[in-house]
Symmetry: C2
Amino acid sequence: MLNIVQIGAIGHYAYALPTARKYNMKFSGITFPHAEDGRERAMRNLARFGFEPHIYEDWKEMLEVEKPDIAVVNTVMAKNGEIAQAALSMGISVFCEKPVATTLDGLFALENVYYEAKARYADRNLCFAGMFGIDYLPHFETAYRFVKAGGIGEVRLANAQKSYRMGNREAFYSDREQYGGTIPWVAIHAIEWVERIGALRPMTVMAYGSTACNAGNGTMEASTLCVFGCEDGKMASVSADVMRPKMAPSHDDDRLRLVGSEGVLEVRGGRVFVIDKDGEREIPLVQTETELFEEMILEMQGKGKCRVSAEDTFLATRTALLARESEDTGNLMEIKSI
Amino acid sequence: MLNIVQIGAIGHYAYALPTARKYNMKFSGITFPHAEDGRERAMRNLARFGFEPHIYEDWKEMLEVEKPDIAVVNTVMAKNGEIAQAALSMGISVFCEKPVATTLDGLFALENVYYEAKARYADRNLCFAGMFGIDYLPHFETAYRFVKAGGIGEVRLANAQKSYRMGNREAFYSDREQYGGTIPWVAIHAIEWVERIGALRPMTVMAYGSTACNAGNGTMEASTLCVFGCEDGKMASVSADVMRPKMAPSHDDDRLRLVGSEGVLEVRGGRVFVIDKDGEREIPLVQTETELFEEMILEMQGKGKCRVSAEDTFLATRTALLARESEDTGNLMEIKSI
């Protein structure tokens, strides 16, 4: 029986619950390190799945006492990387909210710890997965499969978009130090699509951001825009804003347009459109067979691989953090591997 | 009776013909400076409107002999600026294909000549208009009016797109020196929307371009991407490609998304969509009362003003040429006024 614990309740921990139930996991402990980790709501959500974990005050103590197989890490973003590092060093697989690090140094440390732990605990399939649950939505999975099957040839140009309603945000979103900023927090999804679905490899980035119209949310950028020069002369733009009007028909307006050597694919409004040698058409959506967290469990059991790998997560995080550095410095940034 | 001449036949001279007919102009001369100026086709098109101009071999001689009120200038782009300068210095109004200059020096010279000529021929309304006919399409005029009326508040973020089918291009498009490159030739439209419709003022630009997948068209970029940092922390992206598949339902896929303080407006597929405090809806299209060239004639007669002014044309050209410089040098460029 897999033993699972949870640290924090700010992010998408709910992704884990159906699978934890399905696999009859032991949900042994939970802890709420940040004042805004919604304790009551999380305990209610867990109870709905039949889980009544022991509440710890200290996450380190919890990891030492419970020695779990898996830690779900989703307290305030600036803390998640440090917690993930501690868990990985103990041989615990980590399901982590994005951004998995909010500084380049933190990301560097996390990557090192991950690869060291993978080697040290070679007897188990130690996993690290970012909460990129959006990639499991049918439209993005459909786009991924179509592009991977060569449907539009080689992608040369990508335009990606995230647009959210502001909604009511916890106070920590007013402090960019705590959640990482709008590029690592929101744009990162679109960056990850460009990299994983479009197979583009960003080499340079120029980015802009502005706090104007942020509804009083302190240092949160309401609008951001990044352009990436990619390997082999390819290119991508990522537009991310939190300015979608309240009365919009949906919370988000996720889009991805990929211009390939053999056609153009577009994700828009939860649908997928293709123009190729056969003309323009909407393509039928495929359903993902397994959810994000279940895929991670299967990978731990040696039965598969998360479609968003640890490497994908690290790459998207590095790209997002360097984009933020461009935004902050006004300089064109190079995106180097560690 | 207004006297009109035409120089070259590569561009959108046809914009001028209905108005030239309507105003009973004397179409006195035409000349074809470039080998690829389609002489026979142009003469057929003019004849259809009842015009049978004298064919000159030399455009300078034609301007001196005919002393026209208006010159329609649309030979190969790299030549248009020089011809426009000569005409303006003689007090002749110019209707000019875009880009109106293909080098920054050329643009600088053209602007100077224009302002000098405006002062020297203060007795007439000397006009200079770029062939931005797309702005007169109902969807762009509708967007313009909605935004100007404050419909989405202050625009903070713009995403603009031009996507063309490659089609069969004249040979000179294989030589970027001659047509200016894909940014000054195609992306310039989207740049002009961002500036005139979105009221954004670009201050810095980072741009990328690639000749991959250009169907053998030499130095023509098939894909380009620009990001602009604008005044007051606003921002814009402009994606322009010539990779729209042959079987696409239309030649172009023009788009403009403007994210404002009070709503989001989008031009897509010849339609205009708005999301604001009243929710999401398509807004009815308005028709422009006068065509581009007729507006220029009315301005010459002191009866109005071209919606795309000489200043708008110069600004979009400067922005496009600096974007191309960023593309070529790999450097972030500042966009300065002259």
